[in-house]
Each structure stands twice: as structure tokens, then as C-alpha cells.
């Protein structure tokens, strides 16, 4: 069976579709869960019926959305097996654990207490109900932690050793994986983006009410909490965005270069604040990378290494090697050129093949010698194992335009939301927000923008990691299952139809529920 790029494309397309649909539903769950818990806490303390209604209204929105998140989530989990079966064996020893822990610790917590939060108003005490709402919110965010542990490890594999006996990577340090700086940054950045999405959605729905001159008290109070919540989220997004950039610069320099359209680095590299890429630019021609750009001097060096004069390697630097960099452990090293990495990868692969031929042979001196030698070649070269599957330097570069534009769209929208939330907070504080119809309109338009922002972040993370599924260890073309691309395209189309129908149905139901308002919702 020959692996065609078509199979890899189909598998990636299907995974991207599922992940992006999943991320349409999940961020709202992450943030709205916490907001609902805050509203219910207000109810628990004040005993005002108003807060109960507020809690219930947002719970209904949460529930409709939650079902869709669950529907897309299960496919993601199983897709690792169905479509990425090589990957599942090669790193399953590490990757499976966080998924299992997510199920045991977080997902059960979320769904069990969600049932109480949603159906339990007349069945359990107020205190138990409040605790359940908090546990639902905590469960959802805890869930995110374990999933991002898994994802963080793909970006920054650590705490493992390769075992040639089983031809796979095996876990050697659980805590190193769980508390990896990449994971912590990713968790913070993803979860707070969920908080931001929830804040914007709440403000937008309430703005619509205010435009319609309905639900005034409900809307003003919801906006008050949501704008503070949103400002908190965006502050945290800036912090985690910065730490993410720092981890990326250490572990995925190629991704950082693609994010910035940086082909040749320098000491004191500027940050491209806005730019239009030159579509003719390739890694092997001398075209200028940009048709137009606005730069901020030395900022990229600072963002990446906290030093205005540090060297940030560009795409061609990484391919050519020859510069000094600090590895994960802080040791200074000379960067290898692409061809050398491929050579080392091939040595590792050959050593593994030899190991494989001898490992099941009867014991004896010859076997011991061969295995020991193969092992030493592996130890020396395994860090570049994944390069043995790449043929040309081009294959080691992610799609620059997609990575660059996604990153800049995310950053620009982030800036927009800082401004938006400050204005929302201020107008609300001055009690004039309901008269500012222009702002209420903008609030509604901001909903698609916040989703674009959140999705763009994931595009940067995942497209920017290409060609790797596991950074440097395994590229996508060695990760897929041996299914024919026709089968994968068929399931892809099924998922497109199913998820799109699901999304349209969800939106129609949501709009209807929003139209009914907090007073119109019948509670069972």
C-alpha cells in the first residue's frame, strides 16, 4: 500500500473539521459555565428571584451548546484511533493517559453535575445545586486541562524515551508532561479565550435586548458582570500569549518564523504588526517576503527571548542551520542544517530496523553486540527521527500564509476586544449603554469576530506545527491509518453534513430561546 498525500490531506481535513467545529461549541461552555456559577452564587447569597432567572436563562443557553460540544468531542477522541493509528501506537503510551484521566476526573464531573444543574432545580437543595453548578464549570475547565496536556505534549514532547523493543515512545516522567510550560501556557490561553468568547456572547445577547428595549435590568446586570469577566480574560490572554510565544520560540522555532513570515532572522528582530505577504515568495527564491509591512523594532526578539537583541531564526536560517540556540534545558547548541537532520533521522530509523531484525533472535553474543550498537545509534540520533520521513526542506515548513494571517488576525482582534470591553464597561458604569445604539450594534457584530479570533488561535497552533504531529519525532505522513483516502473523504462529507446541520439547528434553537427571554423560558 502506498501512502498518497491525498490520504494525509483527507485525514488532516477531517481532523481539522472536527476540531474546528468542536471549538465552536467548547469555548462558550468553558466561560459561560463560570459566569453561570457566579450568577447562581449571587442568587444563593441575595436570595433574589432575579438572579435565579438569570442563572436559569444562561443555563439554557449553556445546555443547548453543551450537547453540541459533546457530539463533536467524542469523534475527536476516537479519530486518533480511526485516522491516526500509527500515531496511536507510536505515542499512545503517553497520549492515551491524559485522555483517560480527562474521562475519569473531569468529564464525569462535568456531566454528572450538569444533570443536577440543569434538571435539579426542584430536586436538590439550593446549596447542593450551587455546588453542582460550580463543579460543572470546574469539570469543564479541568477537562480542557487534560486535553491540552495531550496537545501540549504534541507541540513539545518531553518526559519520554524511545523503546526500540516496542518501537514506540514510552513515558518516563508523568509530572514533566503534566506540568510542561507549553501545556500550562496553552491551557491558560485556551481557557481564557473561552472566557472571552462567553463574555462577548453574553454582552451581544444583552445588547440585542437593549436594542429591542426589553429585559433592561437583566441585560444591564449581565453586561456588568460579563464586561469585567471579559477584561479579566483578556488580561490573562495577554500574559499567556506572551508565555506561549516564549515556549514556541524554544520548542518550535519554525512555527514562530511562519507566524511572523520571517525568512531571515537577525539580532533584534522586529515584530511585524501588519503585513501583506508576497505570494511569490518561496523558501528557495530571492523574492521579498512582504509586499507591505509595518514593523515594531526589536519586539519579536523581546517577545521570544525577553531580550531586545536576541537572535530569532527565520525559516531559511532553520533550514540552513549554523546559528547558536538554547535548547529546552538551556544549553547552547549549534543548529543543524535540514540535510543533517534528515541524515541523523535516517540513521535512527536504520538502527531501529536492525534492532527489529535482531530482537527476536535467540540470545547470544552477536545479538547483544548488534542490539547495543543499534541502541547507541538510536540514543544519538533519535531526536531527529521524524526527519527521516521528509524528503525536501520545503516539507519542513508549515503553510506560511495560513499561519501568518491567522496569527495576525488573532492578535488584531485581541486588540479590538480590549477596546470593546473597556468601552462596554465604561458605558455600563455611566449607565448610558442602552442609549448608545451604535455600540449595541457593534456588540452583536462582535460575536462572529470573537469566534474567528478563537479559531484563528488554533489554526496558528496546529497549522504552524506542520509537518509534525509530534514535533520533530513524527510527521503527519507517518501518522495516518492505512485507510484509503476515498473512505476518509466519505466520512469527511458525512461529518460536514452532520455538523453543519447540527450548527444550523443549534443556532435556530438558540435564537428562539433568546427571543423568548429569561421570563419566557419554561423550566421543568
Amino acid at each position: 500500500m502506498l501512502l498518497t498525500s491525498s490520504l494525509v490531506d483527507a485525514s488532516r481535513l477531517q481532523f481539522a473539521l472536527t476540531a474546528m467545529y468542536h471549538w465552536l461549541f467548547v469555548p462558550l461552555t468553558l466561560g459561560l459555565g463560570v459566569l453561570i456559577a457566579i450568577f447562581e452564587t449571587k442568587y444563593y447569597i441575595s436570595k433574589e428571584e432575579f438572579w435565579k432567572k438569570t442563572t436559569q436563562f444562561w443555563s439554557r443557553i449553556f445546555a443547548i451548546n453543551f450537547a453540541c460540544g459533546v457530539a463533536t468531542g467524542i469523534i475527536l477522541e476516537f479519530e486518533f484511533g480511526t485516522n491516526w493509528s500509527n500515531y496511536s501506537w507510536f505515542v499512545g503510551d503517553i497520549f492515551g493517559a491524559p485522555l483517560a484521566i480527562e474521562g475519569i476526573f473531569a468529564f464525569f464531573m462535568e456531566t454528572t453535575f450538569f444533570a443536577v444543574m440543569y434538571f435539579g432545580w426542584n430536586r436538590v437543595s439550593k446549596g447542593f445545586h450551587l455546588a453542582s453548578t460550580w463543579l460543572t464549570a470546574i469539570g469543564a475547565n479541568l477537562s480542557a486541562y487534560w486535553i491540552l496536556t495531550a496537545n501540549g505534549w504534541m507541540q513539545d514532547p518531553r518526559g519520554v524515551a524511545f523503546n526500540p523493543m516496542t518501537a514506540r515512545n514510552e513515558m518516563t516522567d508523568f509530572w514533566d508532561i503534566v506540568f510542561s510550560p507549553t501545556t500550562i501556557s496553552k491551557f491558560g490561553h485556551s481557557v481564557f479565550s473561552g472566557f472571552l468568547v462567553a463574555a462577548i456572547v453574553v454582552i451581544a445577547i444583552c445588547s440585542w435586548y437593549l436594542l429591542k428595549k426589553r429585559e433592561k435590568e437583566f441585560s444591564l446586570k449581565s453586561i456588568k458582570y460579563a464586561s469585567v469577566f471579559g477584561l479579566f480574560a483578556i488580561a490573562m490572554l495577554m500574559v499567556t500569549g506572551h508565555t506561549s510565544a516564549q515556549t514556541v520560540s524554544k520548542t518550535q522555532p519554525m512555527k514562530l518564523a511562519a507566524m511572523e513570515g520571517l525568512y531571515r532572522g537577525q539580532n533584534g528582530t522586529p515584530f511585524v504588526a501588519f503585513g501583506i505577504l508576497n505570494p511569490k515568495k518561496e523558501i528557495d527564491n530571492e523574492e521579498k517576503p512582504f509586499l507591505f509591512k509595518i514593523e515594531v523594532p526589536k519586539i519579536l526578539s523581546f517577545l521570544a527571548f525577553s531580550d531586545f537583541n536576541s537572535f530569532v531564526p527565520g525559516i531559511n536560517d532553520i533550514i540552513d542551520g549554523g546559528y547558536i540556540y538554547k535548547d529546552k534545558n538551556g544549553e547552547e547548541k549549534l543548529a543543524l542544517p535540514f540535510n543533517e537532520k534528515v541524515r541523523k533521522g535516517e540513521i535512527a530509523k536504520r538502527a531501529l530496523a536492525v534492532y527489529g531484525q535482531f530482537k527476536d533472535k535467540p540470545n547470544g553474543a552477536q545479538k547483544d553486540t548488534v542490539l547495543a550498537q543499534a541502541q547507541s545509534y538510536l540514543d544519538e540520533n533519535f531526536d531527529y527521527f521524524g526527519y527521516s520521513f521528509l524528503k525536501s526542506p520545503k516539507e519542513s515548513v508549515p503553510n506560511v500564509p495560513v499561519t501568518f494571517y491567522s496569527f495576525h488576525i488573532m492578535v488584531m482582534l485581541g486588540g479590538y476586544f480590549i477596546l470593546f470591553l473597556l468601552i462596554a464597561f465604561w458605558l455600563n458604569k455611566k449607565k448610558i449603554i442602552e442609549n448608545k445604539r451604535w455600540f449595541l450594534f457593534i456588540a452583536i457584530i462582535s460575536v462572529p469576530l470573537v469566534y474567528i479570533c478563537a479559531e484563528a488561535g488554533w489554526v496558528v497552533a496546529e497549522v504552524g506545527r506542520q509537518p509534525w504531529t509530534i514535533q520533530d519525532l513524527l510527521p503527519v505522513n507517518a501518522s495516518v491509518s492505512g485507510v484509503s483516502s476515498g473512505n476518509v473523504y466519505t466520512t469527511f462529507i458525512i461529518f460536514v453534513v452532520l455538523f453543519t446541520t447540527l450548527l444550523i439547528a443549534e443556532l435556530m434553537i438558540l435564537f428562539r430561546q433568546i427571543g423568548k427571554g429569561p421570563d419566557g423560558i419554561k423550566w421543568n
Binding site: M1, G96, I104, T491, R512
Partner: protein, 379 residues
């Protein structure tokens, strides 16, 4: 026994418990099949949707956790079965995906597809989903058409570690009589449990609709329950007559991971007879199910929990005989030495040990689930 092998057995047992609980929790799927036929009007449908709608997430979460635990402890199974029997697993997934939003969306206004479609989704999940789950479990015994070689990662043209050797990609598994038989057993078990739960809940409720449902559930249990028992007996007979495959750990070439796989007639019967405690769990399970059905049919006493416990024990015992005693728990029909055993498919000692610590949390999870269940179901 080495610590490593002990942990492999331990994790097989954990995955087996999850699988057994999952089969029990398909009472939700069984309950969904009552929407058409058993429920005669909207009021009755609403009651069914309420009592099962408060529980569906539990089944769903168990399925996800089962997947996660299988991945963490036996990644080669995840990789071989899911990646190989592609369509079987995709169909199972789809049948669960269409369930997940149907409860919430069905009763809402402007839900795009209409009530009937969401009910159809729930029916498909209830019938097709349970049958296919049974088929998937049956492959533990009947095997699959695949070849597996971990060293394939080092080959140039095709580096697929395990691949399916026919183009049906698992669809063919659905049409094997033995697999289908277990599929029907799981479906009937789910429906029987669904009827028992309906009876259990509705007989406590006030009102005409719930009384009607309780009575209808009771009379339907007589037919479905008997069908379940008959098909189950047929399955057990087939299971005990089936040839199994074992890794020969006594062989000189066994190295703790790989070894020669040998064929053995009546292997599963031998496993039961040779491991008395598994046989005991199995018998207790079967007796509990029978007692529960007899109590329901003849004394009209609600016996859902008794039957549920019985199903959990019986399935647990069957899954143990499938993996314990050096069995190849998913044998290859293409190349017997590619077969998956606990030895060659498990995670490393370090991971299994770490996850064993994690598994200590499971009783607490079960405890709070049981607590919430009681709180939410007693009225």
C-alpha cells in the same frame, strides 16, 4: 508473575469493568427504542424522554472514558481495531453523535429537523448503536482481518504499523453471524433494562400516562426479557464452542512481549473452568438477571438494579475470559502471529503504574455518581 504482567491484568480488568458498565448503561439506548410502539402519545413520550434524558450523559461519558482507558492501557488495540475496522467504529460513533443533541433539541421550537427526526435519531442510536456495540465486543472473540508489525514504521513505502487486509474496513464484521448474535444480545439486554427502568420509574409516578407506561413496560418485559435470555444462552453456547488463541508463554521464544500464538479448541470454556472465580462471577450475574426477570414478570416487583448488577457481572466475567490466561484478545484472521495479547499491546510498565494510581480515584467517582443518581431519581 511480574509486576508488569500484574498491571496488564489489572488494566484489562478495569477496561472490562468499564465495558460491562457501559453495556448496563445502554439501558438508556434500550429506553429510547420505547419511544415508538410503547409510548402511545406525546405525554408518554415526554415521560420517557425525561427519565432517560437525565441519564444519557452517563452512558456517553462512560463510552468516552472506555475509549480513553483503552487508549491509555492498550494503545495497540486502539490503533489496530479503530484504524482497521474503520467503518464499524465510525458507524458506532455516528449513532452516538446523533443521540447527544436529540434529547435537548427534540422538544425545542424551531429545531430545524422536527420532532420526528430527532426521535428517529434516538431510535437509530437505540437499535443500531447497541447492535454495533455488541458486534464490536464480539470481535474480541471472533477476531479481525488485519496484519500488524511494529517495525513497519521503519519501512519506506508503507509505514503503517497495523492495517486491515480487506477493503470492507470492518463492515464485513457486522455480517458475521457470531458478531451479529452478540449484537442482538446487547440490543435485547438494553431494551430489557430500558423496560425495567421505565417500570421502575413510572410505577412511582402519579398520573394516567405513567401508569399506562408502567403497565405496558411490564407486559413487554415478558417478551423482550425471554428473548434476551434465549439469545444470551445461544451466545454462551457458541462462545464455549469457539476456538480461541493463546500466546505460548512457556515457549523458549517468548520474550515477555511476543511469543508464538497457539490455537486451542473450546478455549473460552477452558478459561471459565480453569478460573473458578470468573465462572462464579459469571454465574452470579446470570442468576441475578434471571431472578430480576422472574420477580418482575411474576411478582410485578421493580428489579431494574438487580438486573443491572447481573448484566455488569456477566459481561465483566465474559470480558475477563477473553483477555486473561494469556489469550489473544483480538486475534488476526490474516496472520495469527499479528494477534493482540495483553503482552504485546499494552502500555509500558511506567504508564500502567501511573494510571493504576489514577484508577484509585474511580471509586470516588462512582460514589458521587451514585449519590447524584439517588438524589435525581428518588422522586
Amino acid at each position: 508473575m511480574t509486576t508488569y504482567h500484574f498491571l496488564q491484568l489489572y488494566w484489562w480488568a478495569i477496561v472490562s469493568i468499564l465495558g460491562a458498565v457501559l453495556v448496563f448503561l445502554t439501558f438508556v439506548q434500550g429506553g429510547q427504542t420505547l419511544l415508538w410502539g410503547t409510548a402511545k402519545n406525546e405525554d408518554e413520550k415526554r415521560i420517557l424522554l425525561t427519565i432517560f434524558g437525565h441519564k444519557w450523559e452517563l452512558t456517553f461519558t462512560t463510552l468516552v472514558t472506555f475509549g480513553g482507558a483503552a487508549f491509555a492501557s492498550f494503545p495497540l488495540f486502539y490503533s489496530t481495531s479503530f484504524g482497521g475496522a474503520y467503518w464499524l467504529w465510525i458507524l458506532i460513533l455516528l449513532s452516538f453523535v446523533i443521540q447527544s443533541f436529540s434529547y435537548e433539541f427534540r422538544s425545542k421550537e424551531r429545531n430545524l429537523l422536527g420532532k420526528k427526526t430527532y426521535e428517529t435519531f434516538l431510535m437509530i442510536n437505540g437499535i443500531v448503536g447497541t447492535i454495533l456495540l455488541g458486534v464490536a465486543v464480539a470481535t474480541f472473540i471472533s477476531g479481525g482481518n488485519y496484519a500488524m508489525d511494529k517495525m513497519n514504521i521503519t519501512t519506506g513505502s508503507s509505514n503503517i504499523i497495523s492495517y486491515w487486509t480487506n477493503n470492507y474496513r470492518g463492515l464485513e464484521l457486522i455480517f458475521k453471524p457470531f458478531n451479529l448474535l452478540l449484537g442482538v444480545v446487547v440490543f435485547l439486554a438494553a431494551r430489557t433494562l430500558g423496560l425495567l427502568f421505565t417500570f421502575n420509574q413510572c410505577s412511582k409516578m402519579e398520573g394516567e400516562a405513567s401508569k399506562n407506561l408502567a403497565n405496558r413496560a411490564l407486559s413487554k418485559v415478558k417478551v423482550t426479557g425471554v428473548g434476551f435470555v434465549l439469545f444470551f444462552v445461544a451466545f454462551v453456547v457458541c462462545l464455549f464452542l469457539t476456538t480461541g488463541y493463546r500466546v505460548d508463554t512457556a515457549s523458549a521464544s517468548f520474550n515477555g512481549i511476543n511469543g508464538p500464538i497457539v490455537e486451542e479448541k473450546f478455549a473460552y470454556l477452558h478459561n471459565m473452568l480453569g478460573q473458578w472465580w470468573i465462572a462464579a462471577i459469571f454465574l452470579i450475574g446470570v442468576v441475578l438477571v434471571l431472578v430480576a426477570l422472574i420477580r418482575t414478570v411474576f411478582k410485578e416487583k421493580s428489579s431494574f438494579y438487580l438486573a443491572g448488577l447481573g448484566v455488569v457481572l456477566a459481561v465483566f466475567a465474559i470480558l475477563l475470559t477473553v483477555g486473561f490466561a494469556n489469550m489473544a484478545y483480538f486475534h488476526s484472521l490474516y496472520d495469527i502471529n499479528s494477534s493482540l495479547t495483553l503482552y504485546n499491546s499494552s502500555s509500558s510498565l511506567y504508564t500502567l503504574r501511573t494510571m493504576a494510581w489514577v484508577s484509585l480515584a474511580v471509586p470516588f467517582v462512582i460514589l458521587y455518581i451514585a449519590y447524584v443518581w439517588r438524589k435525581m431519581t428518588q422522586k
